[in-house]
Point group: C2
Chain length 341, copies 2
């Protein structure tokens, strides 16, 4: 399986991307990775590693997309960016899947432009994984679409359900709508309309869900627009990191803190692992015709490694084919929704 990696994407690239690719390949001999970006910089990073026996190659790209760059500007002016070239590799069937920790708006716009959408899908969405007390849930959309219509949320639910069923092996995923009260009548204009569509669908829709519910593990898939989803994601990350720091400080400030810290290092480590985004590595762009995985801008090499593994798993399980079938077999369902709009 061939993964194209945007080696220049992310705050600590290319050091972390090269390191992550090497780690992924060491753990999985079936993989090959194409590092896309500035050849000189990438080669310099690669020269520090032992790559013997690894299926790793470099594809030069002369440009880099900046984190602050507007999607349409990047699309127009950066036709030789590491991101664009990585996506072009899938288009030309020289790669099976793509990973980027770069500007997620630009990843989305470029993937949409070059690879296109699965038939029937209006807006592709980012499906991120978040931890719960029991296990985890899928948050969709985690940041691709900032201003949504009710039918978009409906489609996110259908795609999220297929992802949960096929990648996480959940038989009948419980789908919730992220809201501000359990009752259907509570919400904003968008969610109050979306909930009507979801109530009429055949998925296992459990209604509005709130912060308490989702971390208690009451839903497998949590649906929202990308603005709300991105805020939810980043608040969770920020708070989890802050709590870990607070506890560390609390412990070290106490009498016997040093002994106590040693005592609890394991528990803290395990806790950190459960709440650490880098464990999940990345989030697929559901609805794009080929597997594209977006990774966190602050991705560490571990996050990149896990994103590469997710890309491979996503491709080998054929999740996009499942979604495509879902939308084409489920025509009547979608038409029913379109009529109601």
């Amino acid at each position: 399986m061939r993964i194209a990696l945007d080696a220049m994407g992310g705050d600590y690239a290319p050091a972390t991307t090269v390191e992550g690719a090497v780690e992924a390949l060491r753990e999985n001999s079936d993989l090959s990775v194409i590092l896309v970006g500035d050849e000189e910089e990438i080669s310099s990073e690669l020269s520090k590693k032992n790559c013997r026996g690894l299926q790793i190659s470099v594809k030069h790209a002369s440009q880099t997309v900046e984190m602050a760059e507007a999607p349409l500007t990047a699309l127009r002016r950066k036709k030789d960016s590491s991101l664009r070239v990585a996506i072009d590799l899938i288009k030309a069937d020289n790669a099976d899947a793509m990973v980027s920790a770069g500007n997620s708006g630009v990843v989305m716009a470029t993937a949409l432009h070059v690879l296109g959408k699965i038939q029937g899908i209006e807006r592709p969405a980012i499906a991120a994984v978040m931890p719960t007390l029991k296990d985890r849930f899928i948050l969709i959309d985690a940041g691709a679409n900032v201003d949504c219509k009710p039918v978009h949320l409906y489609q996110f639910a259908i795609m999220g359900e297929a992802y949960a069923r096929n990648i996480f092996n959940i038989e009948n995923p419980r789908i919730g709508l992220l809201g501000i009260g359990e009752e259907d009548a509570k919400g904003n204009e968008l969610t109050k309309e979306a909930i009507k569509l979801l109530r009429n669908s055949k998925i296992n829709f459990i209604g509005n869900v709130e912060g308490q519910d989702i971390f208690a593990g009451e839903a497998d898939v949590v649906v929202c627009d990308g603005f709300v989803g991105n805020i939810a994601l980043k608040i969770s990350e920020g708070l989890a990191e802050t709590i870990a720091k607070m506890l560390k400080r609390e412990i070290s400030e106490r009498a016997g803190g040093r002994i106590g810290y040693l005592f609890f290092r394991g528990a803290l480590k395990n806790f950190k692992r459960k709440t650490d985004y880098s464990e999940y590595g990345g989030a697929p762009l559901l609805g794009i015709s080929k597997p594209c995985i977006i990774s966190h801008g602050r991705s560490t090499s571990k996050a990149i490694k896990n994103a590469i593994k997710l890309a491979a798993n996503f491709h080998s399980k054929g999740v996009l084919d499942v979604i495509s079938k879902e939308f084409n077999q489920g025509m009547s369902r979608r038409e029913e929704v379109a009529v109601k709009e």
Copy 2:
């Protein structure tokens, strides 16, 4: 100072409300509390307490607002609800401030209808307090207005700033807009317009802020619409509770867990105190002409006690007069905004 307490509001009322009132009065002899609601139920709870020397009284109200009730329905049909009667007490100058842990949408609608807004303010907003690594920040709007216009967010910023300056004694509060990227160009339609207004204002506006930033304590006031704010608030609460449970489990599952738990009880308790909403008690409805404090639906007696204390502090510091002056002296600033809309 006379506080009217909606004794029937909240999931565990009237037991928690009566208990909270008694605790607040024991700690502050300058206060008097009027418990509003079903006289029989309240008296039954009061009979379990030692109220000697406390300035506590009961005002009967025959109805109770349900948590799922729509604001307009409640406003029309529940004219003798505990909430309505409590608010009427302020209107008639028989109380200085009001506290309710009931349906926040109904509290807002009733306060708006009975007490009205401060001149110049379009939408009153809920200002909640949330903990950070260093201290705390004020989240406005935490749930009053689900569909906002840019000028509403601008006004929330002005009110939040006055609240931060006067209640938390912050000299030049840093105001951030809750967003999905640091750049001004990142956001949804609402925030991209709002940021232009905020950039043109005289407040200490620091731009878009994200989850990482806010819990690191980079802003004193975080502005957003009420849908996003309520989700942010509940996700933070849900996650903090979940993390505390995860850690407890991690610790107890380990060898020596029991000893470890005893060792860390203090640290965990302190951590819980810092992340526990009940410490802050409640959130004022900024923009209403009289002090109204909304408390969490799941309020414990401690949360009610702290909400009563906040109501007293809010009233004695004359925060609403400050906001009113801000909006009337700052006329030119507001007009400038209105023209730009």
